[in-house]
Structure formats: structure tokens, C-alpha cells
């Protein structure tokens, strides 16, 4: 029975698209780490640390094992004991999540490939890092939000501690402190996993899986539509609310959350990050790169480039999952509705990126290489790429959020047909940062591409008709 349940769960979670992502991530990480290691030996640890933070913190915060409505209606109500269900759910989710993490992170072990002992521990550490987020997400799932936020914050501090020569940091094994770092990580993973099994083995498993988080009945006041023009109402809705890409894809399974966050909340968070970045660069960094030839230029511009790309992609990807064609597109011509929505997303991206414009202006004064192109990129290119990504998200097979915490589909390859263009945008940001003379041409080309897509009325209509045929109503 266990084998059958596990096979069923794995089949419902995996698809060709999912495997394609794993392979793509593996190639991507190999390329990035080899490139990064040419400028800094710590790059592999930074890279793995970034991924571990994303996986661990998001798992602790969002929490839980993803179940489909079919799981809940049929599997959890069937005569199968929790002794079978608990490990099956755990293993299927751990497998899906681990494969993504390992494909993204394994290339980091390149840096310790000559040290057999470190490499052996490294492989075990990587497996622990893949499993720990799942265990922690189960342990934290039914706790109040402030506890989960606290847990996520502690996990971030723990990971970052690796870079301050603290031996129990999970990445310290990549920085020479193999034994203590590895033993501590293994111990934490073991305890967390045992506790997580214990937490869901009881009779209440179905309830734990189907109602992982408490739900408020109302929203905080955010919008005011009355008295506005129709166009301003559309702008107001899409500017004021930040639509994060609305699923926790990093966990392997697709977990949907219908959250709404004010643009101003995100602006405050980004401002704190920008100030921290500025303070570090101005007061603590003795080696600010002043030219492309500086040995650490790549390392210092890398976070800027990813922040710019991530901002454009992150703010523009989730919008359509919350839209309703039967309401919006039957009230206003599609090209007008989408045009206003796209502009609102571009203005929102510019607003949220603005603290980094200010910080880069100060860094430019300090003579940091890339700061001036960075200002122009935040000012023009990032909003334009937000617009392009939003426009393209209308073309790919968009999923819609109709119920919370439901897996609408496994990864579908057609959802990723715009990935080549997304990665082209990342490469262009890199080129613009490192070769400033290329910036005007890249900006002109990007604006031209956006205009080509959006000034064509038929683009919106054709895309809408295709989406409706795929079930987007």
C-alpha cells in the first residue's frame, strides 16, 4: 500500500516540465559558479547560501505539505492509515523539493572537489540542506505567523553566520570548518525531521494537512475605488497591490497563497535593504571596485544585477493569476485594460526600485564602478522589463488562483516558454552593467520590443482568446 500511495503522489507532482527545470537549473548553477569562482573563492558559499536562505526561510514562513483538493477529498478520506500517509506525503514532497535544491546547489561543491573528506561531508550536508526545509515547514506550519516570521529570521541569521567565521554556520564547511559545521547541520536536520514526523503522525493528520494556516476573514483597508474613473480604478488596483509570483515553486510542489501586500510595505522593506547595502558599501567595504578591471567587480555587481532582474520579474509575474477575464475583460476593451495594468506594474516597479537609485547615486559619488549604469537601469530598464515580462505572462499558459492552497497543475512546460526571453533580460542587465557603453542601445532595443508587443492590438486579443481556450475565465 505504501508503494502505491507514494507512486500516486509522485506521479501527481512530477512532470516533464518539472524535470526540464531541474536540468536547466543544474546547467545554470554550473555556469554561474564557474564564472563566479574566477573572481572570488567564496562565491560558491555565497551562491549556496542564497539558495538555502530562499528554501529554508520560505519553507518556514509558508509552511506545510502541499495537498491537492483531490488528495484531501479522496486520499485523506480513504481507509489508509497515517503510518502509510505520513511518510508518503513527506517523501514525495521532500523528493520534489530536494531535486530542485540539489540541482541548483550541487555545483557549489566544485570548490571542495580536491578535498575528499570535505567533499564527503559536503554531499551529506547538501542532502541535509535539502531535507531540512521540509521538516521545518511541517514543524512550524500550525504556529502563529509571528513565530514563523521569527523562525525564518533566525534561519537567515544562521546561514549568514557562516560568512562571519562562525563554525556552526551551515555553509562553514565550504570555508574550511568542515567537521563542526557538518555535524551541527546533520544534528539540526535529524532533530527537525524526527519532530516533524512526530507532529504529523497523530490522528489529526488530515486536518493538519488541509488547514495548515489560520485565515483572517477580512482584509486590511487598502483600496478606495469610488469616485475614480474606470482607468484610474484599474491603475489603482494594480499599482497599490504587490502581486508576488503567487506560488511557492521552490518547495517542489505548488502552494498557492492569496496574500495582498501594499506597495508601500514593500517600499519600506526595500528601503531598509537599500540602506543596509549602502551602509555596508560606504563604511565597511574597503575594496569598492572602481573599474571593470577590479578583481571583485563581478562579485559586487552580481547582487545588483539579480536585484534588478528579480524586481522586474517578481513584480510582474503574478498579476494575471489573480485577474478575472469574465469581469475585467468584459467591462473594458482588452487592450485598454491590459495597457493600463501594464503601466501600473511599470510604475510600481519604478517606485519599489527607487531606494536603490538613491543608494547608487551615493555610491557613484564614492566612485563605485557600475553605480551610474545601475541608476539608469533601475530608472528605465527595470520598469521596461517589468512591462515586457507582464506582457509575455499574458502569452504563456497562465494559471489562475481560484482556491487557496490548491495545486492547480504540476509544472507545465508551456508555462516556461517565455524563459529564454527572461534570461535574455538578465544577460542584457549584466551587459549593461559591465559595458556601460552598451546601455543606450540595450534601452532602445528593449523599449522597441515592448512597443512592438503592446502597440499591436491583436497581440492582446489573440493572447486572451488562447488563454480562454485554456480555461482562463
Amino acid at each position: 500500500m505504501f508503494g502505491k500511495v507514494l507512486t500516486l503522489l509522485i506521479k501527481s507532482r512530477f512532470s516533464k516540465g518539472f524535470l526540464a527545470i531541474i536540468i536547466m537549473l543544474l546547467f545554470y548553477s554550473l555556469l554561474t559558479i564557474n564564472l563566479g569562482l574566477t573572481t572570488d573563492k567564496s562565491f560558491a558559499a555565497y551562491y549556496l547560501g542564497f539558495f538555502f536562505i530562499v528554501f529554508l526561510a520560505s519553507a518556514i514562513y509558508t509552511g506545510g505539505i502541499s495537498t491537492t483538493s483531490a488528495d484531501r477529498d479522496f486520499l485523506l478520506t480513504s481507509a489508509i492509515g497515517n503510518r502509510v500517509l505520513v511518510p508518503a506525503f513527506f517523501i514525495s514532497q521532500a523528493l520534489a523539493s530536494s531535486l530542485i535544491f540539489i540541482s541548483a546547489g550541487s555545483a557549489s561543491l566544485i570548490v571542495i572537489r580536491d578535498n575528499t573528506l570535505a567533499l564527503s561531508f559536503g554531499i551529506v550536508d547538501l542532502l541535509c540542506m535539502a531535507i531540512l526545509p521540509i521538516s521545518m515547514s511541517l514543524n512550524m506550519a500550525s504556529l502563529p505567523r509571528f513565530v514563523r516570521v521569527g523562525g525564518a529570521a533566525i534561519s537567515v541569521i544562521w546561514v549568514i553566520s557562516s560568512f562571519f567565521n562562525i563554525p556552526i554556520g551551515p555553509l562553514s564547511f565550504l570555508r574550511g570548518q568542515v567537521i563542526i559545521s557538518s555535524l551541527f547541520l546533520i544534528l539540526v536536520t535529524l532533530i527537525a525531521t524526527v519532530v516533524s514526523f512526530n507532529s504529523i503522525k497523530q490522528e489529526s493528520l488530515p486536518f493538519k494537512l488541509s488547514a495548515m494556516s489560520s485565515r483572517n476573514r477580512g482584509f486590511k483597508k487598502l483600496f478606495s475605488f469610488t469616485g475614480r474613473t474606470p482607468e484610474y480604478a484599474v491603475f489603482h488596483l494594480h499599482f497599490k497591490q504587490v502581486d508576488f509570483s503567487s506560488r511557492t515553486a521552490s518547495m517542489g510542489n505548488i502552494k498557492i497563497k492569496v496574500n495582498r501586500v501594499s506597495v508601500y510595505t514593500i517600499l519600506i522593506l526595500v528601503s531598509v535593504l537599500a540602506v543596509a547595502f549602502g551602509i555596508y558599501e560606504l563604511f565597511f567595504n574597503k575594496n569598492i571596485p572602481t573599474s571593470l578591471a577590479s578583481p571583485n567587480a563581478f562579485l559586487y555587481l552580481l547582487p545588483e544585477a539579480y536585484a534588478q532582474w528579480g524586481l522586474a520579474m517578481g513584480l510582474s509575474s503574478g498579476t494575471l493569476s489573480k485577474e478575472r477575464a469574465w469581469l475585467g475583460f468584459t467591462s473594458m476593451p482588452i487592450e485598454k485594460y491590459m495597457g493600463v495594468t501594464m503601466i501600473s506594474k511599470m510604475v510600481q516597479t519604478l517606485t519599489i526600485g527607487s531606494p536603490f537609485i538613491v543608494v547608487n547615486a551615493i555610491l557613484a559619488y564614492r566612485g563605485m564602478f557600475g553605480a551610474i549604469p545601475s541608476i539608469i537601469i533601475f530608472l528605465i530598464l527595470v520598469p521596461v522589463y517589468s512591462g515586457i515580462n507582464f506582457t509575455l505572462s499574458f502569452y504563456k499558459k497562465t494559471f489562475q488562483i481560484k482556491q487557496e492552497d490548491v495545486l492547480p497543475t504540476t509544472y507545465n512546460i508551456s508555462q516556461f516558454r517565455t524563459l529564454p526571453i527572461s534570461f535574455t533580460m538578465l544577460i542584457l542587465i549584466f551587459v549593461a552593467l559591465f559595458v556601460p557603453i552598451s546601455l543606450p542601445f540595450i534601452i532602445a532595443g528593449s523599449i522597441g520590443f515592448l512597443a512592438f508587443l503592446t502597440l499591436n492590438k491583436n497581440y492582446w486579443k489573440r493572447s486572451l482568446y488562447k488563454m480562454i481556450e485554456n480555461g482562463y475565465v
Binding site: 482584509f219 474606470p230 488596483l237 502581486d243 485577474e323 468584459t330 480562454i468 475565465v473
Partner: protein
């Protein structure tokens, strides 16, 4: 084809004109040459088995799908134009509101972009009608399925559309609400095109029945004609089932 004969086409005075409409997708001929005229103020039910093409036809009429061939006009206008959009109110089957907006925000947002006159009064009227006054600040996901359907119904008629296109509008509604909605619809001066599987709803809300099967129109007439279709005194459900079977 029995029942209604097609009249000479006067696009502007007809609420809906469909001429030779075809649509296929996902390898299925969903709509296979439908002709249909609905006069202003007329109330029509679309009947048909699952997959008969009712929902696709409604999506084409509401401008969300483009037919492969054929002509569609709403009061003389193409469905994708602003002029046509002003006339229609569309409710799809299993509709979902904006989940990131509260009940009240949903109504305000759609009311504003539909340019609804006296919006606040209109919202109050709909909330009273649907018995939702206490739910105005709630998230749609905290509502029961029935209350979510009420919200969707309110959103589709907030602007008092001249032509309401509704796919299973009374799904999930409790009986008292159904009764209030029947009364309200019967007092509206709108044209109605409703899709349902329940003949008692068709009888109470509309005068004319159009039966679709496998994307084709197989009957078009009024209820009396349908009940006396073959003078067999059989229940109307059996007559309709036979019509659909004969197309296979």
C-alpha cells in the same frame, strides 16, 4: 429544424445575432454552425448535455472567444467593442470573484469600471437582495460557495445590463435566495440568455428554449411547443433527452 424560424436580420434591434458561428479548439468542434437571433427583451434558455457547446457559445457572445467563422453582433456591435460591452453582463459557470479584494471592494471595483450610476445605492440594493449586508468586508475565500456565487451574480448585474448572459446562475444558491433572484430577474427589463440543466429554472425565467447538442442547434421554440413536441405527453426532460440522443 423546428420551432422558431429565423427572422430577417436587423442587427441593431436584436439583442443578439449569431450567423453561422463555428468554433473548434482542443481538437473538438465545440460550436458547429449555430444561427440564433434574440430580440431585445426576450428571455432564452440554452439547454444541452455536458459538452454541448453552451459555455463556448456564451463566451463567444461575451467577447471572450473569437469564432473560427461566422458573425456575432450585440445590438449591432461586435462583442469586443466598448459599445457591446456596455450592454452585456456575463456570468460564467463556476465563476470566481477577485480573491484579493473584499466583497465590497469587488463590487466597488467592477461598479466603477462598468461606470455604474449611483454605485453606492446600487451596492446596497444588491446586498439587500442577496442577503449579504453582513459580509461586505469579508474575503471571498472566507465565504461559503453559495455566498461566493451570490457575489459573482451581483458583479455580473451591478451595472443593470441590458443583456444578461448567465451560465448556471442559480448554482449553489439556497432556496430563499433563488426565490428572491427569480423575482428580481422577472422585474428587470433586460434580455436574458441563460444556460441551465434544470428545466424548472428554464420554465420560471424564460419563454424560449434553444436546445444544443454536439455544438449544433437541435430545437428552437417556446416551452409549450416543446412540451407538446410529439404529443406523447412524456415529461419534458424525456423529450429533450431524446432530442440530444438523436444527434449522436
Amino acid at each position: 429544424m423546428e420551432g422558431y424560424s429565423e427572422q430577417s436580420i436587423d442587427h441593431a434591434s436584436n439583442a443578439l445575432t449569431l450567423e453561422g458561428v463555428y468554433k473548434s479548439y482542443s481538437g473538438v468542434q465545440a460550436v458547429d454552425g449555430i444561427d440564433l437571433i434574440i430580440r431585445d427583451g426576450e428571455r432564452v434558455t440554452l439547454l444541452g448535455e455536458n459538452g454541448a457547446g453552451k459555455s463556448t457559445t456564451m463566451r463567444i457572445i461575451s467577447g471572450l472567444m473569437k469564432p473560427d467563422r461566422g458573425n456575432v453582433r450585440i445590438y449591432g456591435y461586435k462583442p469586443s467593442t466598448m459599445e457591446a460591452k456596455r450592454y452585456i453582463g456575463y456570468l460564467p459557470e463556476d465563476a470566481s470573484p477577485y480573491l484579493n479584494l473584499s466583497v465590497m471592494e469587488n463590487l466597488e471595483y467592477i461598479g466603477v469600471i462598468r461606470r455604474t450610476a449611483n454605485l453606492n445605492d446600487r451596492i446596497e440594493q444588491l446586498m439587500d437582495l442577496l442577503d449579504m449586508q453582513s459580509m461586505k468586508q469579508q474575503k471571498p475565500l472566507s465565504l461559503s460557495r453559495g455566498n461566493r456565487q451570490k457575489l459573482c451574480l451581483a458583479l455580473s448585474i451591478i451595472h443593470e445590463p441590458r443583456f444578461a448572459i448567465m451560465d448556471e446562475p442559480l448554482n449553489y444558491l439556497d432556496i430563499p435566495t433563488q426565490e428572491r433572484v427569480f423575482d428580481y430577474f422577472n422585474n428587470m427589463n433586460s434580455t436574458f440568455l441563460i444556460s441551465t440543466h434544470i428545466l424548472s429554472i428554464a420554465k420560471r425565467m424564460t419563454q424560449r428554449i434553444v436546445v444544443l447538442s454536439r455544438g449544433r442547434k437541435v430545437w428552437d421554440g417556446n416551452l409549450d411547443e416543446l412540451e407538446n413536441y410529439d404529443n406523447s405527453k412524456r415529461p419534458i426532460e424525456a423529450i429533450v433527452a431524446d432530442m440530444m440522443k438523436n444527434v449522436r
